[in-house]
Structures are given as C-alpha cells and as structure tokens.
C-alpha cells in the first residue's frame, strides 16, 4: 500500500468506522469514536499534505479498480487544504462536544431530549466527517453525489438535535433544501453522463464540456450547490438552521459543511468546465457581492448572538464567490471584454480566495464555540443577555475577538493575507468594483463583531446567574482562533500546497 493509499483510506474510512463505534451508545464508545475519527482524519490529512507536497496530486484506485467501473480517490492541493482544515476544526469540535453535552450519564435515558442529543451527536458528526472527506477526495461525479447526500442527511439531523420547535422546523427546511439541491445535482450528473458517457472529473475536463447540454447541466448543478452553500439569494434557510442547532453543530455547519458544496462548485466551474463562461463567472461574483452586503446588513440587525454569527456566514461566503470572476485571466469586470480564456489563472485570486475559505472555517468555528460558551453560561442567547460575560469568560471573549479579526481581515489573521491577495488581483486587473466590495464588507464585518463585543463587555446589565463553563470548551474555541491568527503570519506552506494542482488540476 502506498502512502497516498493509506492516507486517503484513513481520511474517508477512519471517521466512518468511528461513527459505527460511536453508535455503541456508551460513554466510552462515544469518546473512542471521536478519538478514532479525529485521529484518522488528522493523520490522513497530514499524511496527504506531505505526499502532495512531495509528488503533486495523488490517486488511489479503491480495490485496484479504476474508472469507469471502480471508484477512485484523488487528492490535489485544494483537497488536502480542505481536508486539513476540516480535520483541525473537527478535532477541536469533537473535544468541545465531550463537555458541551454534559457528563454523558444520561445516555441511557433515550427518551430525554438531552440524552438523545448527547447520544447521537458523535455518530452523526463522524458520519458527516466521512462524507465531507469523501467529497474532497472524490474523482467522479457519482461518488460526489453519494457523499453529498450523506453530508446533507447527517447535517440536517444535527440541527434537529436541538429540541425547540424552531430548530426542528429549521432542520426540516434545511433537509428539504438540501435534498432538492442534491436532486438538481443528480440531474446535472445524468445530463453530463448522457452527453459525454463518463463520470470521471478528469475525463470530463479533457472533453472540455461545451454546448447546450453541458451548459444546462452546469446550471442545474450550480443552483443545487448554491442552495446548499447558501449563496445569496438562496441563503434564507441558513440562519435559522445554523443559529438553532446545538453550539458544536452550529460550528460544524457554518465552518465546514457549507464548504463541501463550495468545493464542488469550484471543482466543477474551473477544473471541469475550465472557467465556463465569462458571464457566468461575473454572475457568481455579483451574487457573492450581494451576499456580502446583504448578509452583513442583516447581521447588524439581529438581536440574538448566534443569529449574528449565522448571518455573518452568509456574508463571508460571498467573499468565496468574489474569487470566481477574479480568477479569470484577463480580469473580468474591468470593463473591457476579455479575449479567449488563456490558461493563466490568477494565483493571487486562487490562493487568496481559498485562504479566506480556510480562515473562515477556523474563525467561524471558534466564534460559534465561543458564543456557545457564552450562552452556556447565561442559558440565554439574546445579545442583551450576554452582558458582562467578557469578564467571566475572558478566553471565550478573546476567541470571539480573534475570530472576528480574521473575518474582518485585520492582522494578524489569515483573513488579512487572503484579502491582501484578492485585492492585489482585483487592483492589477482594474476591478475597482470588487475592491470596493471587499473593503466595505470588511468594515461592515467590524461593525457587527464590535456590536457583539460591546454587549459582552457591558458591565452594568450583567446578571448574576452564571453557569461555570468547562475549561475544555474555552480552550477548544481559543485554539481554533489562534490557528486562524497563526495562519495569518505563516501561510507559505498552505500557499504552496494550493498551487499543487492549482485551479485546473487536469489541464
């Protein structure tokens, strides 16, 4: 077994196996499952990081069977970066969940809602983890579909672990959107297969899909994935679902789950379709810009802590789509029509955009966990109820603040570096519209992060009831926030792995 085979296997099947272990329904099986899942995912992603850095994109034919009949796992720099950030966030959230759901002694009381949440969080999350890693390592469309479906089912179930009617409804709505999105994707897959007779992403890329059938298929898959990624204007399901879920689930949903469908979108648009059409790229960028403005303004108008963060996710996802037009070689949006697409994709836009995705994953998970700590302490979620928690929970406050820096693109944070790169591309291409959006979005982000911090600092209204928060939960949030800050002073390795394969790994 080669290193690549070992590590891809670990990344996908480790968490899957761990999910089975965690289904055992005893405290020790939960702990063992989370430890096994975290361990295999971390080892797999780091192992692949080394392999891909050393030899470029790697391939694993499962059971020795290749395309078209067998299933292939395939990893390039983009896959590895996403795998790794998922593993880091996942490990921290796993740690966090062990304390968040209490001492796990209620596991046997299957009827009690709390016991149910404690019992099923770990298996659902580990299943979700396997599905996400499956997406990042898929080399064919159908494998993507199956992983995506598992991801959607597990994610919706995680939301409904919170027992309130609102969370239940939000989870149901999420499930419907997610399933419809998957169906649109599957229809797109069917059309592509009808036209080109292959499911392999690499062979499709070689066929350079064009024509009405290919365009229709891309449109269907894009709508489906955009709905799952909550791209404006298909974002309405996200805030209630992400805000209503239990804190560790919120962290996972906002930080890594939406990135799964984002990953598929990027792969389809660039690796498979070679950038598709200029108009399409501009449209995606425009929707991203609208998401930044709309999501930020709505975040400013929320009165409950977790909803601010959830709307912030809508806004921050917009940045990832601004990358689409900026990647194009001639600099779309500069006014001038670009000529035939040259193969020179912008490294700045690519590394900047993906760095923002990675930094959002780390920072958003940190912020949701920090917010979870604050609501855990005061048993309330409204902004006015968290008055004064900064003084009781300085570490969570710090984690929230550091995460906010990263979202706002202030140093030291990966967000700062990512925005610098995106700005560099936008300016050298003369795309002043994108420069303005990136800048305004950053200022709006500061405004809503500050709104939360100010409430947390407010001493006058602080209530007396504080439930002590387990230290482990505070550390988990802070460590992720520190990771986002560290990536802001040292991103060379990440930068270089993203160029392994780059935007179009198969061209």
């Amino acid at each position: 077994m080669t290193g690549a085979e070992l590590w891809t296997t670990a990344a996908v099947f480790g968490p899957l196996l761990a999910a089975l272990v965690a289904l055992g329904g005893r405290p020790w099986t939960l702990k063992a499952g989370l430890a096994l899942g975290s361990g295999t995912a971390l080892a797999g992603s780091l192992g692949l990081w080394v392999e891909v850095t050393r030899q470029g994109p790697v391939r694993h034919l499962l059971g020795g069977w290749g395309a078209p009949l067998g299933i292939e796992l395939w990893a390039d720099g983009f896959s590895v970066a996403m795998l790794t950030v998922t593993a880091v966030v996942g490990a921290a959230v796993s740690l966090y969940s062990l304390s968040y759901f209490g001492d796990l002694s209620e596991l046997d009381a299957g009827a009690s809602p709390a016991g149910r949440a404690a019992r099923y969080f770990a298996p659902l999350w580990l299943l979700l983890w396997a599905a996400l890693n499956g997406i990042y390592l898929s080399a064919d469309l159908f494998n993507l579909y199956v992983s995506l479906e598992i991801l959607g089912l597990a994610a919706a179930a995680l939301v409904t672990l919170a027992v309130t009617p609102k969370a239940t409804v939000a989870g149901m709505r999420y499930l419907i959107v997610s399933l419809v999105g998957s169906m649109l994707f599957l229809l797109g897959v069917a059309l592509l297969y009808t036209e080109f007779g292959t499911l392999s992403l690499e062979e499709l890329a070689a066929a350079a899909p064009a024509g009405p059938m290919a365009a229709a298929s891309l449109a269907l898959m894009t709508v489906g994935m955009a709905a799952k990624t909550a791209l404006f204007p298909l974002h309405a399901w996200l805030p209630p679902a992400h805000a209503g879920a239990p804190a560790p689930a919120s962290a996972l949903l906002s930080a890594v789950v939406v990135k799964g469908s984002f990953f598929i979108l990027v792969r389809l648009w660039f690796a498979v379709y070679g950038g598709a059409s200029d108009g399409g790229l501009l449209l995606m960028g425009g929707l991203g810009a609208a998401a930044i403005l709309w999501g930020s303004v709505l975040a400013l108008r929320q009165r409950s802590l977790k909803r601010v963060i959830a709307y912030s996710t809508v806004a921050q996802l917009g940045y990832l789509f601004i990358m689409f037009p900026l990647l194009a070689p001639e600099g779309l949006g500069a006014g001038g029509a670009s000529g035939p697409a040259s193969p020179e994709w912008s490294d700045d836009a690519w590394t900047g955009g993906i760095l923002l995705a990675l930094s959002h994953a780390l920072a958003k998970a940190a912020m949701f966990m920090a917010a979870g700590n604050m609501t855990y302490a005061v048993a309330r979620d409204a902004l006015r109820d968290i008055s004064g928690v900064a003084h009781r929970l300085p570490m969570s406050f710090l984690a929230f603040g550091l995460g906010g820096l990263s979202l706002a693109g202030l140093p030291p944070s990966a967000g700062f570096v990512g925005k610098w790169l995106l700005l560099r591309e936008a300016i050298s291409a003369g795309g002043w519209f994108w420069v303005a959006i990136i800048t305004i979005g950053g200022l709006l982000t500061i405004a809503y992060v500050l709104m939360v911090l100010r409430h947390a600092l407010d001493l006058k209204a602080s209530s007396g009831d504080f439930r002590p928060v387990p230290k482990r939960m505070e550390w988990a949030a802070l460590l992720l926030a520190l990771a986002a800050a560290t990536l802001g002073v040292r991103a060379t390795e990440t930068f270089q792995i993203l160029l392994q394969g780059g935007v179009t790994p198969w061209s």
Partner: protein, 114 residues
C-alpha cells in the same frame, strides 16, 4: 424518437412535476414524496443515457448508479419522513408554520442540555 428517448423525456417530465409539487405544496408529506419522485425522474434519464451514444451496447454504469441512487433515496426519504413526524409532534402542524425568522430575540433560546 426511440423508446429510450421516451424514457428520458418522461424522466424530465416526472422531475419537473415533482419539483413543482415540492415548491408549491406546503404539506410536508407532499414535499417528501415530491423529492422522492424527483429522484425517480433522474433515474429514468440515467437509464436512457447510453442511447445517446450507442443504443446497442449495454452500459452497466447507469444500472449501478440507479441501484445506488435508489438506496440513497430510500434512506433520505426515511429520514425526511421521520423528521416530518417530529415536526408534527413538536409543532402540532404538518406544515412549516413556525417561522424561524420570527420572534427575535428568542424567548426560549436553545438551552444547552446539561
């Protein structure tokens, strides 16, 4: 038009009808069944797929996809029905009536289980 084309067009029709139902019908059972039917529409298209290129050569891949797809659809439908039941028991309504956007700040914010 070959019989296989008929499959494909029937698939498209089923998909669109089902999508229409999912979007317009408020009752959760309608929505869940609609999603299930959307999948069925895609399966029909997949079965007809090889015809576009060479109708005389048997292609095992679509069969495999459809079989897998059915398994996934069963699982998804089961979960969706289960969640629909839970919605009904927690809100007393088979519709998505509780507007998650409403009543903010939340008086019964999700209290972490202890």
């Amino acid at each position: 038009m070959t019989p296989l084309d008929l499959y494909a067009w029937a698939g498209v029709a089923v998909f669109l009808l089902a999508l229409h139902a999912v979007v317009t019908r408020a009752h959760l059972i309608w929505k869940v069944l609609g999603i299930n039917l959307m999948g069925t529409g895609v399966f029909l298209i997949l079965l007809a797929a090889p015809a576009r290129r060479d109708p005389l050569v048997a292609d095992p891949l679509p069969q495999g996809m459809v079989l897998t797809g059915i398994v996934v659809a069963v699982a998804a439908t089961a979960l969706a029905l289960g969640m629909a039941l839970r919605v009904m028991s927690r809100t007393g309504s088979p519709f998505l009536t509780v507007d998650p956007e409403s009543a903010d700040p939340d008086p019964d914010a999700p209290e972490p289980p202890s």
